[in-house]
Amino acid sequence: MSGSVLVMMEQRGGAWSRMSWETLAAGQQLAAQIGGTASAAVAGQGIGALANELASKKLDKVYAIEHQLLGAYTADAYTAALEQLIRKTSATMVLFPHTYQVRDFAPKLATRFNQVLISDTIGFRIDAGAPVFARQLFQGKLNADVKAVGPAPHFASIQAGAFRADQLENGTAQVETFTPDLKPDAIRAKPDAPFRESARAVDLTAADIIVSVGRGIKEKENIPIVEELAKALGAELAASRPICDSGWLPMERQVGSSGQTVSPKVYMAVGISGAIQHLVGMKGAKTIVAINKDSNAPIFEVADYGIVGDLFEVVPALVEEVKKAKS
């Protein structure tokens, strides 16, 4: 088997998305497995310097997809530009980092080739010539092997943290500028500049210890139970997304892909099942403690210490013990 892997790198305002490098490493490894080549592409306006940065990696080609209509991201322009590049290069596999932007346009792009994007994958192998991607189901409770059948190109996105950027192989690659044929009136969305809501009052990234609470807490009225634990430990209180969605704690205390990314000394996840959207925000903690009633909860896959039990019993007992130890 042979073929060519095309890795679509992501940048915003001239800065790389960190996940792009992990995906590029995945692309090199996939190319090695199929006995083919890997190339990379980056799209935007004035991206020559970014493309040159890629030229020092072990790649067949680097494509700088340059167009003024790619300056601000739109699904229509990105889809059209990449469709043209993929048809021109006859890439057999296209990889993306599984970012919010990729989720916005890559399914659309795959549809143009009568394909599906095999999304949020964590590994791959080649089985009788066909790529098989591993991905999570049911918020990480189960895994599945998904086989791409039928003719190429195949499309997949790579989960944050599934591959290591430091395994990227250096080399040299030839940079080629690709100018897609884009029409202004084919771009239906008019985007404003990205913005952040008012400055964060809570900086969770500075905390040594974080006590974080999830759905297991059941009701807003129960929040003081974990608040008490945070106080006893001298920790910041944080939460998974659903808690903030429900307004039980302010959005600025949210940890995860849409909230803050933290790496404290200790992260204590209380009643948090550990969906990937949460894990990407806290996997970097030095020590992870999980308290959950479901022994199969994915949070235990990343935990250093685990207690399977009812948080309404465990947390008050823990408050007692912490107070005892500190006195």
Partner: protein, 256 residues
């Protein structure tokens, strides 16, 4: 505004999942099911848009006979009518096939807006809405946290990573995938539940929609994930486990 909300029925969140004898899916017989959570937010957004601008909300669901329970609940919350593409064997399709079927069912309704959740809690592919848009030739935007009208089109707030957002304007008709937490979910009222019994659920089959293409991505195997870390499980009563943990925090992690 005529709004179609595409909803999916999934196993309830705390389900204990068991792999079925084929090794390719889960045992469904002993599970309870509910509306996919992001789809519940999409439905709520549709109902709020209708309350503001008038119009009609149609719930669209591809699922087996059991999904009619979830459809009834959508009607009880305020959807005006529903279309149920009834199909027992969902594993025969991939995302493209499912999105094509949903698009085919939605098309004759000529909706102004199609809403769906950003992803499902079971497969989590996060593509149905975007692929539907592409099949129908409509613009789309994903992970939406606010929707308002702007002239003859709409202005939506996209969530980006790390606390960033972006406002985007687009013409109608359009397809949006809705993020959990965009609004506050309502409960069905007794009156709503009563009314739902008389609302129309139109049932169509996959064959009546012209079938779906053969899948290009198939699940070969479902299995338990392997632990990447050696987790020290602390057992005993709540008190004993708590004492052990404090011991660890004090002497191994050294934060107390």
């Amino acid at each position: 505004m005529k709004i179609i909300v595409s909803i999916k029925q999934v196993p309830v969140r705390d389900s204990q999942l068991r792999i079925d004898s084929s090794g390719r899916w889960i045992q469904e017989s002993d599970l309870s099911f509910e509306i996919n959570e992001p789809d519940a937010y999409a439905l709520e957004e549709a109902l709020q848009l209708k309350e503001k601008h008038g119009g009609e909300v149609i719930a669209l669901c591809l699922g087996p006979a059991r999904a009619s329970q979830t459809i009834r609940e959508a009607l009880a919350k305020g959807a005006d009518r529903a279309i149920h593409i009834e199909e027992e064997n969902l594993t025969a399709f991939d995302t493209l096939g499912i999105a094509k079927l949903l698009a085919k069912a939605a098309e004759p309704e000529k909706p102004d807006l199609i809403l769906t959740g950003l992803q499902s809690d079971d497969l989590g592919a996060g593509q149905t809405g975007v692929v539907m848009a592409e099949v129908l030739g409509l613009p789309s935007a994903t992970i939406i946290m606010a929707v308002e009208t702007a002239g003859s089109g709409i202005r939506v707030k996209r969530e980006l990573e790390d606390g960033w957002f972006q406002n985007v304007e687009m013409p109608l008709p359009a397809v949006l995938t809705i993020q959990s937490g965009i609004n506050k979910l309502r409960y069905a009222t007794l009156m709503g539940i009563k009314k739902a019994k008389t609302k129309e659920i139109r049932r169509v089959t996959v064959a009546e929609l012209g079938g779906a293409p053969a899948p290009v991505a198939t699940i070969e195997r479902v299995y338990l994930p392997q632990r990447t870390k050696q987790t020290q499980m602390l057992d005993g009563t709540a008190k004993e486990a708590a004492a052990k943990l404090v011991e660890k925090l004090k002497f191994e992690v050294r934060v107390i």
